[in-house]
Amino acid sequence: MNVFISNRIGDIQPFGDDMANPIWIVRDYERCSGCRRCELACSMHHEDWMWPEASRVRVFMPFPGLEVPHLCAQCDDYPCVKACPVEALSVDEDTTAVLVGREKCVGCGKCIGACPGEVPFLHPEDDKATICDLCEGDPECVKVCHEARYDALRVVEEKMNVHRKLFSRHPVDVAKDLAVKLFGEKGEEVI
């Protein structure tokens, strides 16, 4: 693989056309039913059991009907990776996912603070940073969402771009937008 990305900012190089498989999970909030099967599938894959709060995708619902799947948006500048003081985070050069070196992670939470959407969280069992790793290119959450024909989460092969980071937002802020979109003026006051 000729694209090298380290966990230091100066070394991050632009992704070239020769990226093997840069993927991204499209999130279409209006299509999310709130079934949370993505959380169950994710945690069964990563934790071997149903554990929504350890799932790398978490569906927030600040008001009923406003379901927001919250997961890593793989920003083009990877602020979480840069913020890690112990170099526990790196970027998968194939998929562009953020990978957590759990043995290095000290659970300081700096990655959470650096993320514009506060996406990472500390694992409820051992307080290690927990971030979507795209399941090595074949995300479980997307599979079950597609099976149920919601397609609120969908994998696309897409080169790194400036839009990704804009999806890294606080889920309550996303829900506030969604509220107005679905409920009109009333949406301004439900959250």
Binding site: E30, R31, S33, G34, C35, R36, R37, L40, S43, M44, E47, D48, W49, M50, W51, P52, E53, A54, R58, F60, M61, P62, F63, P64, G65, H70, G107, G109, I112, E118, P120, F121, L122, P124, D127, V144, E147, A148, R149, Y150, H170, P171, L182, F183, G184, E185, K186, V190, I191
Partner: protein, 617 residues
């Protein structure tokens, strides 16, 4: 601990402000599972023979919110609310879909049992660190939407304060009451997610009587361990395949039935059940869908059926109203039964009923009863302060508030249809019982028996231990024991579409209990229903049911249908009597439906015998 159980229950004494964790032995859990069954067991064990003296709205009653071992792990997780019912004076296992249920389990609890009465408004917060009682005076009087908004913010902020470094805290799950529950409107619901309700039984009023505004749960743990995890994972996939395959149900929910149950099967209540037929095509599902459904596939935790659809009114006089679909029951009870055939008016009525915390079936049943009394000149404009004319959504909005606040005639109507009928008969010197559509104090769901074309037949409400509850109707005293009695006790939604065999395989893989469908039909189910029957017959203190006489349909169900393709048809009284006798016999009850001694012994309920013996005299 058997699989599927978090392992402990939170026992809260609101009077003494004491909380403790309790457990049940494996035998009790295997016999009763959870939810409806375990709640009846807890109630009998704790209240016992003094049952008839316990006021359902007094501090000595117990409010119970239980999951079951399948909750959250099987698709479609629900919470089951119970206690001594202020409507039937027996018990109901009243379930609602809500994330509160899995959150409770992920916090390490299988249920919450609440006794006593708080000195002021409170809510209970359950987290990984245990339970706590918190002030709710700022929430008292708030409608559903406001309650959710405030609690989501408040609890999330509090949990963030306690553990600020773990990342974003997701909002908690909750059950709560609206003004109707606070003011102890007897048929008020326990609410969740603005429009989900544990509607039957009047448990919103029981929460209100305890000054308990809400129970809120947030857990960070996994769902409980199960007996055979690999089997559960496979079964999980299989059941979801089946659920996803229910395309018609997924597209329409029950939201198309507001037209078809009237037009097709003539079993939809119209103007307080004076008719059960209509052919109002403007009330068809597609009309709701095209104008109001803003989210067409809406689901609860671990459910892919998404039979709910979020409706919102974006213009006109009801602008800003939000509810789901409405589903069939509310299309009927907040629509046709009030003479309302306009989809927008129906969405509005459903939204206001939910927001006030009325049960969407039971509360409006009483409203329609009042409207018929107005139609007949028995109640007058002065009783209401306005005219509750059929089809007038504005007037019915006022009536919903009047009952929720117990103002004017609303104070009488807040007693539920049956008790209100008794009071009004006395007040006005006219027998109004013929217009009260209930069985044993529980207003009947929106499926009539007269056309015999729906799933509800002859004695299905008359002999049910949960009276008018359309989600748990009686059939033959055998088949339903492994369906509704089981799903209310294992606590999951029975809309998933999976065959019973698969459900029982799933239950075995979760719990490790050697249960069978036949065992539930012959022993476990009958044990629960027999216990419920005993408690129902014990009743009191304000009323006692008379066996046979009260094991019957409301009088209206024997009037011939006045219109539609089934005009002239009515419920066959002789068949009701035959079915009733057969039902009692199948369950080992005597000819008056009092459980026999040998039945009690066989089911491990021998301690009920002294009380049943008294009833036989």
């Amino acid at each position: 601990m058997p699989g599927g159980y978090a392992g402990k229950f939170l026992d809260v004494d609101l009077t003494r402000e004491k909380l403790k964790d309790i457990t049940f032995d494996d035998e009790t859990l295997e016999a009763y599972f959870g939810g409806r069954g375990l709640a009846a067991k807890i109630l009998w064990d704790r209240i016992g023979a003094k049952w008839p003296k316990v006021d359902p709205l007094g501090p000595e009653n117990i409010f119970i919110a239980l999951t079951g071992p399948m909750t959250g792990i099987f698709p479609g997780g629900r919470i089951c609310c119970s206690g001594k019912s202020p409507l039937s004076n027996g018990t109901v296992g009243s379930t609602a879909s809500t994330e509160f249920a899995p959150e409770l389990k992920m916090a390490g609890y299988d249920g919450v049992i609440v006794t006593g009465k708080a000195s002021g408004p409170v809510y209970i917060l359950v987290t990984d660190d245990g339970g706590e009682i918190r002030d709710a005076s700022h929430l008292w009087g708030k409608v559903g939407e406001e309650t959710i908004k405030i609690l989501n913010k408040e609890v999330t902020a509090e949990l963030t304060k306690r553990k600020p470094n773990v990342g974003l805290w997701k909002e908690p799950g909750m059950i709560y009451i609206g003004p109707a529950g606070e003011n102890m409107v007897r048929n008020a619901a326990v609410m969740s997610k603005i429009c989900h309700a544990a509607g039957y039984g009047g448990y919103g009023a029981v929460m209100g009587s305890k000054n308990l505004k809400a129970i809120v749960a947030k857990g960070r743990g996994p769902l409980p361990k199960v007996f055979a995890p690999e089997a559960v994972k496979l079964l999980w996939k299989r059941v979801h395949e089946i659920t996803i395959g229910q395309d018609g149900f997924r597209r329409r929910g029950t939201g198309y039935a507001g037209y078809s149950v009237g037009a097709d099967t003539s079993s939809e209540p119209v103007r307080n059940w004076q008719e059960e037929w209509h052919d109002e095509r403007g009330y068809g599902g597609p009309m709701f869908e095209s104008r109001y459904w803003v989210k067409k596939y809406w689901a609860d935790f671990n459910c892919t059926l998404s039979c709910m659809k979020i409706s919102c009114i974006k213009s006109g006089r009801w602008k800003g109203d939000i509810t789901d679909m409405p589903d069939y029951e509310l299309e009927a009870y907040c629509g046709t039964n009030l003479g309302i055939f306009d989809p927008g008016d129906n969405v509005h009525m459903s939204a206001i009923i939910d927001n006030l915390g009325h049960s969407g079936i039971n509360g409006p049943n009483t409203m329609a009863f009042a409207a018929e009394l107005y139609q007949r000149g028995i109640l007058a404009k002065e009783d209401f302060g306005f005219e509750p004319k059929w089809g007038d959504a504005e007037a019915f909005t006022k009536l919903a508030w009047l009952i929720a606040k117990r103002e004017k005639i609303g104070d009488v109507l807040a007693e539920g249809t049956y008790r209100a009928a008794k009071k009004i008969s006395k007040m006005k010197g006219v027998d109004v019982m013929p217009y009260a559509v209930h069985v044993k104090g529980i207003e009947i769901g929106a499926h009539g028996t007269r056309s015999d074309a729906d799933y509800t037949h002859d004695a299905c409400y008359a002999v049910s231990v949960e009276g008018g509850d359309h989600t748990s109707t009686a059939s033959d005293g055998y088949k339903e024991m492994s369906s509704s009695i089981f799903s209310d006790s294992a606590v999951f939604c029975n809309f998933c579409g999976a065959p019973q065999e698969l459900i029982f395989d799933y239950a075995k893989a979760i719990t490790g209990f050697p249960i069978t469908q036949e065992g539930w039909r012959r022993v476990n189910g009958p044990r629960i229903v027999t216990l419920q029957r005993a408690l129902l017959l014990m009743g009191g203190p304000d009323l006692f049911w008379v066996p046979i006489e009260d094991d019957d349909n409301p009088r209206r169900f024997y009037e011939p249908l006045p219109s539609g393709p089934y005009k002239g048809r009515t419920t066959d009284k002789e068949l009701v009597e035959q079915k009733r006798a057969a039902y009692f016999e199948t369950l080992g009850w005597d000819e008056r439906g009092i459980p026999k001694r040998e039945t009690l012994e066989k089911l491990g309920l021998a301690d009920l015998e002294p009380v049943m013996k008294k009833l036989k005299k």
